[in-house]
Each structure stands twice: as structure tokens, then as C-alpha cells.
């Protein structure tokens, strides 16, 4: 495992182009585009203000930089560095900006969710979509980029509009049976739209592309409901994480629950392996590692970590949430399927330092990673069954079915990993610190030593 040198970035804006060739980072009001393989700066663009959002177009030819405070969007071209485009939303304000899947349209959401403005870079045409709903996930494009589902709110009722992205033709418009729609998500095959209600009610609705209600799922009533929803890449399963600290897996044929994963405070499942991160100070000058650390000059403040396999049953640290506060820190908030559908990683908010990995073939708990501090972010390798996670310290953690490893990021001044992103090839990983970034290269032939 190798690490690149550290680069500057701001607002954690750092993205690899969809084709995997370029790395775009924002530093204050500058946009820097590098070649991923050499890390040489290829282009440098200067925006009008500090960039608050940056996004690659699907064809990796354009980069969108949004400055929400100024209500401005600037677009840059890689092929023609002197080409420029500036969209000004004016006094109506801007809260969100994104590319359409074809990379020729920009969708801007105005302040107060007054409307969504669709700007065409081809024709300079502008069109509006009124009544978008301000919610957790009110807009979603299907995986193939042909359809867009948009949550709307009119007359205190929730509606979903399905647009054809090609020409923004409204394909379907239907009312949903929700009290307060919280989000929607296309299945990866683009044929089923999952819609879920706000946390006050456990309700998940499944709509066909043509607006028919396929099924409704509700696990319980009178309690805080859905917290997170995720489709498996094969569209076979819909995982629903809820406030009752459980994940329910819905199948795609009957749309009924086929499995339920609990997150108990005491892990007793005999099939599961519990990895516990153990921190220790490095022994002074005894082995190569400390020598290496001395050369990097960060021995004093760094602790080494390793995983220990605990014998069951294991007590997992639990933080009791304050019941009087809104949005209590309890329940399954993050769900992620591995690229090959075999594993599901989850995080329960009142066990913030624990990541659970479930085996979707056995429908059982496979591994529990107990970290020393709260898990900030985890992401599956897009090509291999490999999970990378970070906890806001100087270490990178990797899990694979074969085992678990903690790697110290060997950079000066204690690089703290706040977030991470896999490169689409799965060979490298972008680690984001507070104002820095660093690339981590996996050894392709010998997986996570």
C-alpha cells in the first residue's frame, strides 16, 4: 500500500472524473484538475468565489462549480480550457446544483425550493419545474440516465413526477400515499421507484416506472420509522434501516421482508467475527515501523492500531440517545451494499464506533468492526468486496472477507482522514482530511496485505 504526497483542498471538494482519468480538487476559489496517474496539474481554473459544490459531468468533459452564496454556477471544459459558462440564478438564490445525466443540462434548485431551473448548455434554453419538495432525497435519476423522479408537494399532498431526461418531457405524475414524503430512489435497473415516508411513519412504497403502486411495506406503527433506504446493485433487495435499530431486507418479487438484521448491544452470533481496534503507543525505536515513524516525525502523537479478534459474546459500546431531542441518534442511518451484492455494511447511530457487515447470501452477520472512535465514513470498493472506512484519525481501515487491517497514513503533521472515496477502478483511494487530500494506492496483486 502506497500513499501519495498531500495536496490542499477545501470544503472536501475532490472528485475523480467518471472515466477515472482525472482528479478535480477545489482550493478556495480555484479548481485544479490533475491526471490521476501522474498527479500532474493539467488545468487550473479560477472561479468567481469560493466554490461550495463541484461535480463532473457524466462524460468527464465538464466540471460544474457552484457558488451557492453568490447564486452562481460556473462550468469548465477540459477539452477547451478557454471555454466558459456562467449561470447566474440571480436574487432567487441557489441551494443545490447538479448535472443532468446527459451532461448537457444543469439543474439548479432555488432557495426555498421555489423551483428547479433546468439550463441547457446546448440551446441556452431554460425551463422551470415548480413545486419541488424540500426533503431528504427529493430528486433521483435512474442509473441509465433516462428518467428523473422528482418529489413534489402541492396542496399538502405528495406527488412524484417522472421526467424523461432526454427532453424533460413529463412522463408520469402521480400522487403518493405518504403523509410526508421523505425520499425516493430508483432501483438500479430503473424499473422500480422506492418512496419512503418521513420518520414519523414507517412506510415504504414501491412504484413501477409507469406510476403503478407495486407494493407498500410497513414494519410497525406508532414509532419513529425509516431512517435510510438502499437498493442492492442487482435490484434484488431493498434494505431499509429504521429507528428501531434494525435493517429489513425486502425482496423484489413479492416485496415482502425476507430478512431482518438486528444490531444488538451484545454480539452473540456464532457466525460473526468481531474485530476490535486496539490502540497502543509504538515501542520506542525497536522495530522498523518506529524508525519509519521517526523519519516522518510524527511518532510522538501517533498511536498504532491493530485489530484483535474478540471471542463471543462481545459487548458493543452503546450511547443512549436523549429521548427529548429531535432526530435522536439512534437507528440505522447508513446502508451500503458491496458491488457484488454479497455484503451489506451498516451503521447504527447509537453504536457510532461500530460497523456491521452482513452476508447477503447467508443472510447473517459476517463481521463487526469495533473502532476506538466514531466511524465517519465507509465505502465499498467498486470492484472488489472490500470496505474502506475512516474514523477521523490518522488511520485508514480496510475490511475484506479475509480479514481486517488498520493502516497508518504516513504523512507529515498528522493527516486526519475525515472522508474517503474509491477510485472507480478500485485500485486507489482518495483520503480527504480537513484541508488536505492524499491518494492511497492499493497493491493490485496482493490484496490488503
Amino acid at each position: 500500500m502506497n500513499f501519495s504526497e498531500v495536496f490542499k483542498q477545501s470544503n472536501q471538494l475532490c472528485k475523480v472524473s467518471p472515466d477515472g482519468k482525472y482528479l478535480a480538487t477545489c482550493v478556495q476559489y480555484r479548481l485544479v484538475v490533475r491526471d490521476v496517474s501522474t498527479l500532474q496539474i493539467m488545468h487550473l481554473y479560477t472561479c468567481l468565489d469560493q466554490i461550495s459544490h463541484m461535480e463532473w459531468s457524466s462524460d468527464s468533459l465538464f466540471i460544474l462549480c457552484a457558488m451557492y452564496k453568490r447564486g452562481l454556477v460556473q462550468v469548465w471544459s477540459l477539452e477547451q480550457p478557454d471555454w466558459h459558462c456562467k449561470i447566474d440564478e440571480g436574487s432567487i438564490g441557489l441551494v443545490s446544483s447538479r448535472w443532468s445525466p446527459d451532461g448537457r443540462h444543469i439543474l439548479n434548485t432555488t432557495e426555498f425550493h421555489l423551483r428547479i431551473t433546468v439550463w441547457s448548455l446546448c440551446t441556452k434554453a431554460v425551463s422551470y419545474i415548480k413545486y419541488p419538495k424540500a426533503c431528504q432525497k427529493g430528486i433521483d435519476f435512474s442509473r441509465d440516465g433516462s428518467y428523473m423522479a422528482l418529489a413534489e408537494r402541492r396542496d399538502c399532498k405528495d406527488f412524484v413526477s417522472i421526467f424523461v431526461c432526454d427532453d424533460w418531457h413529463l412522463l408520469r405524475h402521480f400522487e403518493t400515499e405518504t403523509q410526508d414524503l421523505a425520499g425516493l430512489e430508483w432501483s438500479p435497473n430503473g424499473c422500480v421507484l422506492a418512496v419512503w415516508d418521513s420518520c414519523l411513519e414507517y412506510k415504504v412504497l414501491l412504484y413501477s416506472l409507469d406510476g403503478r403502486l407495486l407494493s407498500t411495506y410497513s414494519a410497525y406503527e406508532w414509532s419513529l420509522g425509516v431512517k435510510s433506504v438502499s437498493w442492492s446493485p442487482s435490484s434484488q433487495f431493498l434494505a431499509i434501516g429504521s429507528y428501531d435499530e434494525k435493517v429489513r431486507i425486502i425482496n423484489h418479487i413479492t416485496w415482502k421482508k425476507i430478512a431482518q438484521f438486528q444490531h444488538p448491544a451484545t454480539v452473540e452470533s456464532t457466525k460473526a467475527t468481531v474485530y476490535k481496534e486496539v490502540e497502543r503507543r509504538p515501542a520506542v525505536g525497536t522495530d522498523e515501523m518506529s524508525l519509519h515513524n521517526i523519519t516522518t516525525g510524527s511518532t510522538l502523537f501517533n498511536t498504532q492500531s491493530k485489530y484483535e479478534i474478540c471471542s463471543l459474546p462481545v459487548q458493543v459500546p452503546v450511547v443512549k440517545p436523549d429521548p427529548d431531542r429531535a432526530n435522536p441518534k439512534i437507528g440505522v442511518s447508513v446502508l451500503a451494499f458491496s458491488s457484488n451484492n454479497h455484503y451489506l455494511a451498516t451503521k447504527n447511530d447509537n453504536m457510532a464506533s461500530v460497523v456491521w457487515v452482513w452476508n447477503m447470501q447467508m443472510m447473517s452477520l459476517q463481521a463487526v468492526l469495533e473502532q476506538t472512535s466514531a466511524v465517519r465514513c465507509f465505502q465499498w470498493d467498486p470492484c472488489h468486496p472490500r470496505l474502506a472506512l475512516c474514523t477521523g484519525n490518522t488511520k485508514l481501515y480496510l475490511w475484506s472477507p479475509g480479514g481486517c487491517v488498520a493502516v497508518q497514513v504516513p504523512t507529515e503533521g498528522g493527516f486526519q482522514v475525515h472522508s474517503l472515496n474509491w477510485h472507480c477502478s478500485g485500485n486507489s483511494l482518495i483520503l480527504l482530511g480537513k484541508e488536505q487530500l492524499c491518494l492511497c494506492y492499493m497493491e493490485t496483486d496482493e490484496e490488503d496485505k
Binding site: 471555454w83 456562467k86 440571480g90 436574487s91 428518467y147 408537494r153 396542496d155 409507469d210
Partner: protein, 595 residues
């Protein structure tokens, strides 16, 4: 009520007891009995005291006769002998008296009996009384208890009532709260809706305003327009386009459904295959069992056989119709599978029960004869131990044999060489020792021959001495008395007196010599002055080794004796350390050879 009854009973009791007291002891007067019995008696006595007077004898007689007649003693009639009545006919009077006495005795005895009975009755009465009082106490106690329970019940009832009222109030409260919640919820939702509407209105207005203002800033500034990513040109929004969108949507949906249907078909086929397989196996498993089980329980097996027959039939039919994949076929298939499954389950259950029975039996057996089995087990284990021992022994022997024989020639030769070399060394050593020993023996033999020669000489000298002494003796028989006296006073040493200084010198020279030597040396003391003793000679000639110089001490003598006895032993004693080494070595070798 009860209490009243008891008091009544006690009153009666009291009366009875008082009466019985009277009868039992007439001395104790009871007032209210005597009050009307005694006056009567008294008057009676006063009359009686003057019953018969001189004047009224006849009347008396008649009266008594009447009385007797009334008593049923009519046979005896008392008659006066004289009409005046002074005389009395004795016989009937006496008879009457006798009769009266008899009657009196009888009545007395009956009275006694009655009294006894009375006593008995009174004691039982007393018993009854005590039991009665006891029961009364009990009754009282239970009554008290009852009242206590009553009280408790009342309290509980009260409590229940209060609790019920509480519950009611709580329920009311809950209802109230629920209604409050409901009203609040409706209020909230209403408010939310209102707010939302307001917000929507505001938004509308805001956007309207923004649109009306013709915000100049709202603009797109592109250097030059881009081509579409797919290279096509934009389309007009037409009905055709809409239709095509619809079509595409349905197409994608259709393809998705087709795909899912295909996968389902595949899965279905797979499952059907599995089902068939399972069914076949089930039939296979179940059919031989039914035939074998026929012997055990006739009716059961018959039934099963029938079942399996039917099963096969249905199985066949289902197989035939399986490919049709229609509702009917499916039903049949599932039915047959269900039946099979039921049978299998029954079978398994039966097996289970059998197993449990067997286990129970085993357990009961265990409980019944634990000692015997224990004994048997012990015996068996002993046998086993014996066998094991034998086996181990045999193995050891075999191992030894193996070790002795199974070396290949080279190693054997090498080992032999080693052994021979060692043996040679040992032999050499022994040989050396032996040689030394031999030399010693030689020397000693020489000594002995010398000693023998010397002894011969000494003997000769002694003989000569004796001869001379005898001669002297003989000569002393002659009248040389002074000489004889001298010899008698000093016994056999008389001859040594003559050579006193010489003896002393010899003693000095052989101070360590044993007494035997001294005695030996005494006779030749005369010689010793001129010739040294043989050991001395040897010593001076250094013929005797220094180590054996102490031979003349007691120990040395013993050593010599032992050497004479057993030469080998002496060798061993001489080179003690060596010898032990050797012996150890040899023993080791022995072992080696054994191995």
C-alpha cells in the same frame, strides 16, 4: 341463637349435676330438694314411730296385709294369734319379713347398679361438658375469625371500589388525553397544512415577483453552445415524441418484466427439478420401509402400503402433468409432496419414539442392575489390562529381537567393531592386571617356599634343640639339683634365659611381629643374632613390595589370608576404583549384548 342454646344446656346440666350430687352423697343437703322431701319424711316418721300401738295391732296387721297384698305378697297372710292382737302368728310374719328383706336387698342392689350407672353417666356427662366447652371455644374462635375475614373482605371490597374508581378516572384521563392528542394532532396537521399553504402562496408570490421583476441577473452566459452528448439534435415537443417516450417506457418495463419472468422461469424449473428429485427420493425411502415394516404391525404396514401405492400413482400422474404447468398439476404435485412429507414425518416420529423407548429401556436397565454391569465392566477391563500387558510384553520382545537382528550388516559390523575394540581394551587391561597379579603370586609363592625352607630349617633346629634339651634333661636326672630347680621355676623359657640379650634385640627388631612369630622366633633366637629373620631379609632385599610391608600387622595378615583364599577377590580389592569401573562397564556391555 347459638349462645342462648348453650346457656340453656348449661343450666340443665347444672340441675342434673346437683341432683346427682344429692344421690351420691346424701349427707350434702340441697336446699330446694330437702324443702319438700323432708317435711314429708318427718311427718311420715312421726306417724311410723307410733305405727303400732297396743290398741291398733289389728288395724296394723290388716294394714300391713293390705300393703303386702298390694306388693303382691298375698300368699303370706299375717294373722294375729289372739283376737286382741297381742300375739302374732310367727310363720307368716317371718315369711313376710323374709320376703320384705329379699325385696329390700333386691331393691338395694338395683339401687347400687343404678348409682353406678349414674356415676358412669355423670362422668360421660362431664366429658361431654368439657368437649362441649372446647367446641364452644372453637366455635367462638372461628366466629371471631369469620368476623375478621368479613372485615378484611369489606376492606378489600372498599379497596376494589376505590381502585375501580381510580381506574375509571384514569380511563377518563386517558380518554381525555387521547382526545387532546387527537385534537392537537388535527390542530397540528391543520396548522401545518395552513402553514404549508401559506408558504406555497408565499413561494408563488415570490416567484411571481421575481418573474415580474425580470431579473436581469438571471442569465446564462455560454461562450458557444455545445452539441448534445449523443450527437443528435434537439427535438420539438410533439405528440409523436410523447408517444415515443411512452413506447420506450413500456419497452423498458416490458424488457424488465421479461427478464424477471425468465429468471423466475429458470428458478421455477430448478425448483421443480429439486421437487421431483425430492419426491423420487422420498418414494424410494418410503417404499422399502413399508414392505419391511409389514411384519411388525400388519394393519399399519397395510395402510402404508396402500398409501405408497396411491402415492406412486399420484406421483406418476403428477409427473405426467408436470410439464403442463397448469394449476391442476401444481395442486397435485404439492398435494403428493405434502402427503409424502406427512408420511416421512410420521416415520421419523415413529423412529424417534422407538429411539426414546430404547433409551428408556436402557436407562431402566441401568437402574435395575448397575452392580452387575459394573462387575462385568470391571472384569472386562481387567481382561483388557491383562491383554494390554501381554501385548506390551510381546512388543518389547519383538522390539528386542528386532534390535538384535534387524541391523543391517554394516551397522552391525560397525557396532561389533566397536564392541570388539572395547572388549579388547578391557581384556588388555584385565590382562595387565592379571599379569601383575601373577607376578605377585609368583613373589608370594617364592616367599612361601622360602618360608617353608626356613620353617624346615627352624624345625630342624628345634629338633636339635629338643634333642639337646632332652639330653640335658636326661643329664639333669643326675644329681645337679640346683640346675633342676632353676628350670622348674622358669618353665620352657629356661633355654632362652641363656640368650637374654639376643632375644631382646630380636624383639626390638620385630616389634610389630605377631605373637606367633615371636614364638617361632624364640627358639631360633640364638640364630637370629647371627642370621636375620627371613622377612627382614626380604625387606632388605626389597623383594616384598612396600605396600605389603604392613602385611605383618594384623590387617596384613588377614589380607594375606584372603589372598590365599581367593585370588580374584584380592585383585578386585587391590584396584577398587578401577574394578568397579570395569564391572560397571562390563555390566553395561552385558546389557548391550542383551539388547
Amino acid at each position: 341463637m347459638g349462645e342462648w342454646w348453650t346457656t340453656e344446656a348449661s343450666m340443665e346440666n347444672y340441675e342434673i349435676s346437683s341432683i346427682s350430687h344429692v344421690t351420691m352423697s346424701p349427707s350434702r343437703q340441697n336446699n330446694f330438694v330437702s324443702s319438700y322431701s323432708f317435711p314429708l319424711a318427718k311427718s311420715f316418721y312421726s306417724v311410723i314411730s307410733a305405727f303400732c300401738t297396743e290398741d291398733n295391732i289389728l288395724q296394723c296387721i290388716s294394714y300391713i296385709n293390705q300393703e303386702l297384698a298390694s306388693l303382691g305378697l298375698s300368699s303370706t297372710y299375717i294373722e294375729a294369734t289372739s283376737p286382741e292382737g297381742t300375739g302374732l302368728n310367727a310363720v307368716p310374719a317371718l315369711n313376710a319379713m323374709y320376703e320384705l328383706l329379699q325385696i329390700h336387698r333386691r331393691t338395694m342392689s338395683t339401687v347400687e347398679g343404678l348409682e353406678k350407672e349414674q356415676l358412669k353417666k355423670s362422668s360421660t356427662m362431664e366429658l361431654m361438658q368439657t368437649s362441649n366447652t372446647r367446641l364452644k371455644d372453637q366455635l367462638e374462635l372461628s366466629i371471631r375469625e369469620k368476623s375478621g375475614l368479613h372485615e378484611m373482605e369489606r376492606q378489600l371490597q372498599l379497596k376494589i371500589k376505590t381502585l375501580q374508581s381510580c381506574l375509571k378516572t384514569e380511563k377518563d384521563e386517558v380518554q381525555k388525553l387521547q382526545s387532546i392528542i387527537a385534537s392537537r394532532a388535527s390542530q397540528y396537521s391543520h396548522d401545518a397544512k395552513r402553514k404549508e399553504r401559506e408558504a406555497a402562496k408565499l413561494r408563488e408570490r415570490l416567484s411571481q415577483l421575481l418573474v415580474d421583476r425580470k431579473d436581469k441577473k438571471l442569465a446564462i452566459d455560454v461562450l458557444n453552445s455545445l452539441g448534445r452528448s449523443d450527437g443528435k439534435r434537439g427535438h420539438w415537443k410533439t405528440a409523436k415524441a410523447t408517444a415515443s417516450h411512452e413506447g420506450e417506457m413500456y419497452k423498458s418495463l416490458l424488457s424488465d418484466y421479461e427478464a424477471s419472468q425468465k429468471s423466475l422461469m429458470l428458478e421455477n424449473a430448478e425448483l421443480k427439478k429439486v421437487l421431483q428429485q425430492m419426491k423420487k427420493e422420498m418414494i424410494h425411502i418410503l417404499s422399502p420401509r413399508s414392505s419391511s415394516g409389514r411384519g411388525a404391525t400388519a394393519d399399519d404396514s397395510l395402510e402404508q402400503h396402500h398409501d405408497s401405492d396411491g402415492e406412486e400413482k399420484t406421483g406418476d400422474t403428477s409427473r405426467e402433468t408436470l410439464d403442463q404447468s397448469c394449476e391442476h398439476a401444481r395442486e397435485q404435485l404439492t398435494n403428493s409432496i405434502r402427503q409424502q412429507w406427512r408420511k416421512l414425518r410420521n416415520h421419523v416420529e415413529k423412529l424417534d419414539s422407538q429411539v426414546s423407548q430404547v433409551q428408556n429401556q436402557l436407562e431402566s436397565n441401568k437402574e435395575m442392575i448397575p452392580l452387575e454391569t459394573h462387575e462385568d465392566e470391571m472384569e472386562r477391563m481387567r481382561c483388557e489390562v491383562q491383554q494390554c500387558k501381554e501385548f506390551i510384553h510381546a512388543q518389547q520382545q519383538l522390539l528386542q529381537q528386532q534390535l538384535n537382528t534387524s541391523f543391517d550388516d554394516e551397522t552391525a559390523a560397525l557396532l561389533n567393531d566397536c564392541y570388539t575394540l572395547e572388549e579388547k581394551e578391557r581384556l588388555k587391561e584385565e590382562w595387565r592386571l592379571f599379569e601383575e597379579q601373577k607376578r605377585n603370586f609368583e613373589r608370594e609363592r617364592k616367599n612361601f617356599t622360602e618360608a617353608a625352607i626356613r620353617l624346615g630349617r627352624e624345625k630342624k633346629a628345634f629338633e636339635e634343640d629338643r634333642a639337646s634339651w632332652l639330653k640335658n634333661q636326661f643329664l639333669n636326672l643326675t644329681p645337679f639339683t640346683d640346675r633342676r630347680r632353676c628350670s622348674s621355676s622358669d618353665g620352657h623359657s629356661a633355654l632362652s634365659v641363656r640368650s637374654e640379650p639376643e632375644i631382646r634385640s630380636s624383639v626390638k627388631a620385630q616389634l610389630a611381629k605377631s605373637s606367633t612369630y615371636t614364638t617361632f622366633s624364640t627358639p631360633r633366637s640364638s640364630q637370629s643374632a647371627a642370621v636375620p629373620s627371613t622377612p627382614e631379609l626380604y625387606r632388605t632385599l626389597r623383594l616384598i613390595p612396600e605396600s605389603s610391608s604392613s602385611r605383618h600387622s594384623n590387617r596384613g595378615l588377614w589380607q594375606e589370608c584372603s589372598t590365599i583364599e581367593d585370588g580374584d577377590n584380592r585383585v578386585k580389592a587391590k584396584n577398587g576404583g578401577r574394578c568397579s569401573d570395569l564391572s560397571i562397564f562390563s555390566m553395561g556391555e552385558d546389557e548391550n549384548s542383551l539388547n
